[in-house]
């Protein structure tokens, strides 16, 4: 009895060293081999990225040195003597924003429909359909947009231009000419990114804990309450990630944009008219026939687009993290 008592009696503070031990990894050789494999794969991805950036810089270097800041602030792309990327960049971003304007709500509501409201057979069908949409090559969407969509949206767009033309983005200098506009490009790209945003959002939303969802209903919540209070907050960062991925795709989309946009390339807020350009269209249309210097300029434009995409992604991540931190504190 007495020995037990002395054994369990509290020791005076400081008499025993209680610095935390380091956990030994104790990996088996199989684990190490596997780790090696993973490290190789990750290394290859990293190297590809580095090689890409180095390539872009190497080829764009001449233009960067030659035009310097003028290249990034110039709003009119008149290659090879005075290329300014800003106009093209604004066009690209406008296409991306128009695409998101349509694709984001449609995607989120479709994902919610699939996860929450559709009966199981319809759920499977919808999921398969969305995934099928994602596999359609962009040239098909491009042709479809050129041949069908431009005709279909003609009258709503001209109505918009006629009655809401006082708003700068709906203004058009060439009434009646709507078929090679930023707006049409955005619409087509929206259709392309809807499957991306939908399927990622659906995946994240379906991970929301079922028990918590039932808990919300059990408290007298409506389905909509369950969605806004449990599912959406839970899948917020995933949805933002999906949206950013869609936006990046929209900025990078080439074929459809090449088919639709005319050769114009000024900075314009009038998205219904034919004045807009885009970085990807410019590169795809003129790279093969350009002089070495012209190719350097176009490469630098590509690098700028790359950086823009990166900035938007990082910004989006920061917004999500900031939001999370604010909610916790």
């Amino acid at each position: 009895m007495t020995t037990t008592a002395t054994l369990t009696a509290p020791l005076p503070p400081g008499s025993v060293d209680d610095t935390p031990i380091t956990f030994s990894s104790g990996h088996s050789s199989a684990d190490r081999a596997f780790f090696g494999l993973l490290a190789c794969s990750a290394g290859i991805v990293l190297m590809l990225l580095v090689a890409l950036v180095v390539f872009l810089f190497a080829h764009g270097w001449w233009a960067l040195v030659h035009f310097n800041v003028r290249f990034f602030t110039g709003t009119v792309w008149s290659a090879p003597l005075e290329p300014g990327v800003l106009g093209l960049l604004v066009g690209s971003v406008e296409i991306g924003l128009v695409a998101l304007f349509f694709a984001f709500p449609i995607s989120i509501f479709t994902a919610l429909m699939i996860v929450e409201f559709a009966p199981p057979p319809l759920r499977r069908t919808l999921t398969a359909l969305i995934d099928l949409l994602a596999t359609v090559p962009s040239i098909v969407y491009g042709f479809w947009g050129l041949e069908a969509l431009t005709v279909w949206v003609q009258s709503p767009v001209s109505w918009l231009a006629k009655y809401f033309g006082f708003i700068p983005i709906f203004r058009t200098l060439e009434p009646g000419r709507f078929d090679d506009s930023i707006f049409i490009c955005g619409l087509i790209v929206a259709i392309m990114i809807i499957p991306v945003i939908t399927s990622i959002s659906r995946e994240v939303m379906s991970q929301a804990p079922r028990e918590a969802c039932e808990g919300a209903l059990a408290l007298g919540g409506t389905r909509w309450g369950m969605i806004t209070d449990v599912i959406l907050p839970f899948s917020r960062s995933g949805i933002v990630g999906a949206t950013l991925l869609g936006f990046s795709r929209a900025l990078g989309e080439t074929i459809a944009v090449l088919l639709i946009l005319s050769a114009n390339n000024q900075v314009t807020a009038a998205i219904l008219g034919p004045d807009g350009g885009s970085v990807t269209k410019q590169i795809a249309a003129f790279f093969p026939t350009s002089s070495p210097n012209g190719q350097s300029e176009l490469t630098l434009a590509a690098l700028t687009l790359f950086a823009t995409t990166l900035i938007f992604s990082l910004g989006g991540r920061l917004v999500v993290q900031g939001g999370l931190r604010r909610r916790r504190s």
Binding site: E214, L217, A218, G220, D229, V230, F234
Partner: protein
């Protein structure tokens, strides 16, 4: 109305005025999952102002029965149901009954703790009010009151803004009890609320249950015979004859009678731990 209610400024009809009047009656309730029948014509009166305990072996359909009582059963796509459940004489499965209002009146604490992942502790407590669009004047007082009644106030008073997920399993369960109390249900369904709790927290919960049952009708599922004896006024024993057969009620009645002189020998066997 208690002093706290006036402080919190609760709508009167939810608590106080009609308190103690909620009677829950299940009539011939059968339930299926797909083609598998899991409950066989259950009829049970859950009297106002009393604690009714549901006991029985695992898998005999106690949770299913509880979920039927606040219309959660129908969330399972293949689930089916017959019979009726009446709250104060009104069939909650009737054609004019509102699902959300029914669930607001009949609260539920689940077998597995299920706090809302993206909400803080305080937000979890207030979630029901938010979901049902109920306004409260003094949120802090309500949060404190509910957490105290759930025996969680001391541990969480300084971390009300931390995520509900940061709590231990037993703390999460008590958070869910606090959350259910905040909307002032007229009936409270508790599915093994103490299964993950230590004796002290269990004591707090049991005290709360005894206190609440003056205003709220309480139905509790428990595997703990002593607990059933300690806190319940009436008791119902669920059994299942064979694997794949539906569960049914062997006997129900006043708890002391069920435990001291049951009518059915199977009840005597079960409550004395001589089963299986």
């Amino acid at each position: 109305m208690t002093a706290l209610d006036q402080m919190v400024g609760f709508p009167q009809q939810q608590y106080g005025a009609n308190a103690g009047q909620a009677r829950l009656v299940a009539r011939n309730v059968s339930a299926w999952f797909g083609t598998k029948k899991v409950l066989e014509r259950i009829s049970l009166n859950m009297e106002p102002g009393q604690v009714s305990a549901l006991i029985g072996p695992s898998g005999c359909g106690k949770s299913t029965f509880l979920r039927i009582l606040n219309r959660l059963h129908e969330l399972v796509p293949v689930a089916a149901l017959s019979g009726s459940v009446e709250l104060d004489g009104e069939n909650i499965y009737g054609p004019t009954a509102s699902v959300t209002r029914t669930r607001l009146k009949i609260g539920m604490v689940f077998q597995k703790p299920n706090p809302f992942p993206s909400m803080s502790i305080a937000q979890n407590v207030l979630a029901g009010l938010r979901l049902s669009g109920t306004k409260v004047h003094n949120r802090d007082a309500l949060v404190q009151e509910c957490l105290e009644r759930a025996g969680l106030w001391k541990e969480t008073r300084n971390r009300l803004n931390e995520s509900g997920y940061s709590l231990s399993g037993g703390q999460q369960q008590r958070l869910c009890i606090a959350r259910a109390l905040a909307v002032r249900p007229r009936v409270l369904l508790l599915d093994e609320p103490c299964s993950a709790l230590d004796p002290i927290s269990t004591g707090v919960i049991e005290e709360t249950i005894r206190e609440l049952c003056r205003d709220v009708t309480i139905v509790i599922v428990t595997h703990n015979m002593q607990q059933a004896q300690r806190i319940s006024d009436t008791c119902a024993l669920f059994l299942i004859d064979d694997e794949g057969k539906p569960g049914y009620i062997v006997e129900s009645g006043p708890t002391d009678q069920m435990f001291s002189r049951p009518n059915d020998p199977r009840t005597a066997d079960y409550v004395n731990g001589r089963f299986g």
